[in-house]
Symmetry: C2
Subunit: 209 residues, 2 copies
DNA sequence: GGCGATATGTAAACGACGTTTACACAGGTG
DNA sequence: CACCTGTGTAAACGTCGTTTACATATCGCC
């Protein structure tokens, strides 16, 4: 999808070009549903630049891909997590709604999810290391909710570490999401049934009787 | 790692060459720990053939990679699952041991695990479709164990579908394994602690009081 | 107002990759 | 013996990420 050459950006306007590159890359990623379809040359064509020009804005392809996904994932907090929290009755109901939102976001953006959470460590640019993933991974939102549940005495008394509780929950929804992303044609129970059963079981195990 | 040219196989001996190719590819995969390091040219060099000769034995690179991983995964049943079952006291203890073996196998063969369970559907050769994964995924071993637990009345009475129980368990261990494979440097609890907490919680949720 | 520094961009190439095509040859079968 | 087929090679194709050398426009500064 070649496009008319992009007008050269003025000095200091490079950030606009970088945004256009992100838009183009995201468009290719969403449109094709495959990371392989996003090539530097393809992005350059789509944005009206030369391949080499991409490297004025991103050090390599991995960083570009992660930047695309980070933008996508940033929206999950505002568009998905906050509404889920606001409509929840209590800190346990909130977790159920967050789990639902998380899985839905993952299967609706499968290639973004895979790039973010299912790649080799080596393919992860430094600035998207573990700490940052903790935020985009919704951990920052979930932890206070878990803490609130602890404070209200909702969990089994021996469970005092919010990180461990949040981790168990994340692993459960991440398992479902990554399996759905990697094996969408699997003869598995419907996604909502899976999720319901898993969250029920995990919460049953975590909550006080 | 170029090697002396391989003696031409006699008619009908092509299977030996295919095995040598699998060995070479597995060696590269294990040695490098990265799928990217396994190139058709590299495999050809390691086995003493020309790149084009690889295609006499495997239709494409994906199929070769999956064949390598399938061989690796076949060993999990014999070497890992069976011993775990034999040393178990009861069908619930068996599940704990299987979960342990599963996660350990995954983190010890991370690239094999990723290729098998964390790739795009499109990259999966037809013969390694969902049904086959059900076997290599230990489902064939787990299902009877779950059924036995149901028969013994160990699970909550409303849980009557062994597939759903097995699925919930698999999603939990798959979540842990795939997270460990994709993000080994994550500031997470130690793997055994995670696993213990998750399996405890899930089983607590699944089992009768 | 010119000048140099720098941000932005291009043209061309490099080396590696998966794969295909055309060809070669050996060995079992009729 | 002739032929088919399994096995293998040489050479090429097109694509990819990336680098290098070079161009040019714009801004701050004297």
């Amino acid at each position: 999808m070649k496009v008319a050459p992009r007008a050269r950006a003025k000095r200091g306007e490079g950030e606009r070009t970088a945004e256009a590159i992100l838009d183009a890359a995201d468009g290719l990623l969403v449109g094709s549903g495959s990371e392989d379809a996003v090539s530097i040359r393809g992005v350059a064509d789509a944005v009206g630049l030369t391949p080499a020009a991409i490297y004025r804005h991103f050090p390599d392809k991995e960083t570009l891909l992660f930047a695309v996904c980070a933008r996508h994932f940033d929206s999950i907090t505002e568009d998905v997590a906050v509404p889920a929290l606001e409509s929840a009755d209590d800190p346990i109901d909130a977790l159920r709604r967050l789990a639902d939102a998380y899985v839905r976001f993952g299967v609706e953006n499968p290639e973004h999810y895979r790039i973010m959470f299912m790649r080799r460590q080596d393919h992860r640019p430094d600035q998207y290391a573990a700490e940052r993933v903790l935020e985009t991974g919704l951990f920052g939102v979930v932890l206070p909710v878990v803490q609130q549940g602890i404070d209200e005495g909702r969990y089994r008394p021996e469970l005092t570490d919010p990180l461990m509780i949040a981790w168990v929950l994340w692993m459960a929804v991440h398992g479902i999401t990554s399996a759905a992303v990697a094996m969408p044609n699997f003869p598995a129970p419907p996604l909502d049934v899976q999720l319901r059963a898993t969250v029920d079981a995990v919460l049953h195990g975590l909550l006080a009787d």
